[in-house]
Assembly symmetry: C2
Homo-oligomer: 355 residues x 2
Amino acid sequence: MNTTLTNGIEIIKATTSKINEVDFENLSFGSVFTDHLLECDFKNGEWQTPVIKPYAPFLVDPSLRVFHYGQAIFEGMKAYKDENNDIWLFRPDENYKRFNKSAVRMAMPEVPEEVFLNGLHQLLQLDEAWVKKGKGKSMYIRPFMIATGTGVIANPSNDYKFMIILSPVKSYYSGDVKVLIAEHFSRAANGGIGAAKAAGNYAAQFYPTNLANKEGFQQVIWTDDATHTKLEEAGTMNVFFRINDTLLTAPTSERILDGVTRKTLIDLAKREGINVEIRPVLVSELVEAAKNGTLKEIFGAGTAAVISPISGFSYQEVYYELPKIEKSMALELKDKLENIQNKLAEDTFGWTVKI
Amino acid sequence: MNTTLTNGIEIIKATTSKINEVDFENLSFGSVFTDHLLECDFKNGEWQTPVIKPYAPFLVDPSLRVFHYGQAIFEGMKAYKDENNDIWLFRPDENYKRFNKSAVRMAMPEVPEEVFLNGLHQLLQLDEAWVKKGKGKSMYIRPFMIATGTGVIANPSNDYKFMIILSPVKSYYSGDVKVLIAEHFSRAANGGIGAAKAAGNYAAQFYPTNLANKEGFQQVIWTDDATHTKLEEAGTMNVFFRINDTLLTAPTSERILDGVTRKTLIDLAKREGINVEIRPVLVSELVEAAKNGTLKEIFGAGTAAVISPISGFSYQEVYYELPKIEKSMALELKDKLENIQNKLAEDTFGWTVKI
Ligand SMILES: Cc1ncc(COP(=O)(O)O)c(C=O)c1O
Ligand SMILES: Cc1ncc(COP(=O)(O)O)c(C=O)c1O
């Protein structure tokens, strides 16, 4: 075992690489992982020395707290390799801040910047051969934390494990996305954990999403749980609505994840001179705009799919097909964003950070 | 290894027992486990052969679905040993049905009765020496299921693991319980997963409960998330309010767990001729009754603590202390229930099931 200590991180290198076994042209999202991972345990009230080591299974007790009481949070971010073989992160501070915001809400310890950001830098350096060049190719980064204390009592754990795992991905063509507007089910409560990237928020959506899938809809657009009149977000994306030439999107709240892609698109759209309104968007307004032809586009925005154009929505058993658009704002913004992320356009906002 | 197959369950006995290392007079709730556990995996669309085997850690991948998307459910039930050394379960069918109800809501496969109930019978028989006699002593039973597929994509898992672990417990004296009525935070959304025993529901409560603890309150009584005017339930207990000689408790709903102790107490109270009203209970009503002296008792009801009397509540920064009561309904009902569970009183309802 080749073990070194670099900037406070212990590094144990894999003796062989799995990289030659991977078909980088046929990657199914989030299913292939690189040679190494970062691990850092929280014990006796403090974070231990972070370790970068070979990606491998680990042992857990059947009474592991996360299995029983669900203390688990994560982040999703991407790294890109440019033409000079430099690797870039996109707004990593935003993910770091959001991770610790999630940690607080789930009564978990905040992760130090050296562990999260410096750890990520070193991990990406070590597995840099896994980051492939070219638009649409990127390294999906999954930092996460789980409660590793034991015992079946519904209290916050004393022990936690923070990890970063890396999964090379290809651009994600989501196909024709039809959505169902939620009329009964919800993803978040007022005063709940909707704004945290908590594991439990996702499992909660699977059943209603399965029901929607069966009716031919790929995604659900969630509405506020009290009245089901306000459009909120999709499973792993914030949503934008284009009415005439104005982009509308809901304000973030306790119920809605504050997406990095969402805030980035708002800034990009404003720079392009597009009128953006951040305000509650009513279902009734959407239906009205669909009926009178002013609804031009709907799209989801998130790290995994970047921008996902939506072709129509269903509400109260009526399906509203969106018009085929010539000059799609969704695709125009997607192109601008991907060019910045891939260092093909100037990053005037200073969003990209070199590894 | 001594392996046998009994009624479709593979049994691998531990070569030595840990029982002599355990101090049964000093048990901290849910922290000690018996020699064996039951495990059954769901793979390729079907449940595999259940196995009873020594309690031990198991290997998991860092991308285990439950860590990332929170598909995890559980049950909590108890077994009691009577004076003849017979072991009894209390209404196990109720827990079995609720487990599968939770499974459906979390898009997980339902567990067959042979695996859950027959498996539990055989597990308890094997570890019967761990079930101790005497009022207040019992075996806490934790059936649970987790998503064991791998990969970081927010979809339901294909693979699952069902387990039952057993933890001997002593009666749980919760001390003086003061509660805070939730004014901002919530545990469940309309159209959410509040009625499921899903892991994520518990983690969601830790942060607001920590805040309450800091102010000197042991528990939070949750209110409906839309208006915060209706009293719902506590962290792991349903709640009852005694106004004059009437017991009030909220109806179960999508937001509230349908507790076995709750429905048992309703039946017991009715048999005792107590007037029970199952209807929305308003915070304003509680405050009013506390002010005019008609509020006599509040108590929580759940498998772990059985009945937990509450000594006072705080709402809008005002603390309302409950009167010291001579003939407490809470303690009377607790006594009646524990006598049935421990086979010290006749079980006219047919709730107890022999192992
Ligand atoms: C619930 C939810 N909403 C929105 C988003 C989009 O956020 P971001 O743009 O930061 O990826 C995500 C995830 O990534 C999400 O999980
Ligand atoms: C949220 C919640 N409410 C109520 C209860 C009480 O249910 P039971 O009486 O079935 O134990 C429990 C748990 O056990 C619970 O977790």
